[in-house]
Assembly symmetry: C2
Homo-oligomer: 219 residues x 2
DNA sequence: GTCTATACTTGGATAGAC
DNA sequence: GTCTATCCAAGTATAGAC
């Protein structure tokens, strides 16, 4: 009911405040990445957003609610990107290649660190755990559909227990991010994805891939 | 220097203070498990230990130093237990059975949650990351020797890149704990270990190996 | 060694001026 | 919508009595 239409805002004013709202979300994300859950206070966020601490409570009511909004943002952002990257993946090697790519990006952006910090931080705030869990669930579903897509051509697809594998995939992803972030060394994780690509390519070779209309990739 | 010998303590006195020191470490562990890194303050720990908040600083100098002592304690404790459980494992199925057992225990005790909280909490305190990383390293080494032991009889042992796999194993372990702890649902993780046991048993069957003593217990 | 008391800092949250 | 000012709770850490 508030937040209503058209917003006849005065000349030159800094928009409707939606801009600062967005700035706060973005600042919350960055603060979670670099300072962790324990270091992400209303003051720290506001400073990074270049605005006043009180605005956190005006726009979001509380710090944790802002943090959840940040988690939502990073979630939908990454999910869109993952879906696009998954694109026309139909083979194990294709899946592995995309996974390696995407993981490398996630190391660079640090987006997954936001997830990790929110999960670990959940223990300290009553009720937060359930909220975070609800926002993690889609990732498991996505992982499963990715596995299905990548193994659709392979006999493995109908044999492997994809429900359990998808859970493992999410867990592994989070664990790798956590360890890489800890010592700042992503080489171990990338080496692992390289290896996965090798194995997947081997799988491809064993699978008679009949149609596969020579992809529409462009160089 | 300090902490010197023999401590001719008065009759009936509560030992030399080593007892409260230990109580503080134990309380720190429990607080990390239930309140998370962000919720683990000197006051919270002292309350749980049944002593005064000032003793944290008397015995450990700072909260983070106590937390690191707690991490050490949980680390050596679990490492001892893991080594014992690994015992005479020489086959994939044996390894999988032990791993499932041990993970189930870790879910119950929550010891791995301490690791996870410390890793995630590292971001918020300068210098803590390196300390924690140093204490994680032994786990990767242990995982590797466990894999070597479990695959010693199998041709897989000489083919698989154990260095990379051990890193993945640690990451997976941490990730599974994190997710299980989040929604309080350990069924997904245990289902996964059950599945691993099936696969490992299959591997055993393909490997002509001498009579092997069966796993110690089964449901 | 352990406690009480206290100094100082930071954080969450609200009221009110602009 | 945004800022200043402020209240209050909680945290780290130290000093000093017992």
């Amino acid at each position: 009911m508030a937040k209503s239409g058209v917003a006849s805002r005065p000349r030159g004013a800094t928009s409707t405040g939606a801009a600062t709202r967005q700035a706060l979300v973005e600042a919350a994300i960055e603060t979670l990445k670099s300072e962790g859950f324990a270091g992400t206070s209303a003051r720290a966020i506001a400073t990074r957003a270049g605005c006043n601490q009180a605005l956190v409570f005006y726009h979001f009511g509380s710090v944790v609610d802002l943090l959840l909004a940040a988690l939502d943002q990073v979630g939908t952002r990454r999910m869109q990107h993952y879906r696009a990257a998954l694109g026309e993946v139909t083979t194990p090697a294709g899946l592995a290649a995309v996974a390696a790519d995407v993981f490398r990006e996630d190391m660079d952006t640090g987006d997954v660190a936001v997830l990790v910090e929110m999960i670990a931080g959940s223990s300290s705030t009553p009720g937060l755990g359930a909220e975070v869990a609800a926002r993690i669930a889609p990732w498991r579903e996505f992982a499963q559909s990715a596995l299905e897509a990548g193994l659709s051509g392979s006999p493995l697809g109908s044999v492997l227990p994809l429900g359990e594998f998808s859970h493992a995939a999410v867990a592994l992803y989070l664990g790798l991010e956590m360890l890489s972030h800890l010592d700042g060394d992503r080489s171990r994780a990338t080496a692992l994805f390289d290896r996965a690509l090798q194995v997947a390519s081997l799988l491809d070779a064993f699978t008679t891939s009949p149609p596969v209309p020579a992809a529409k990739e462009h160089p």
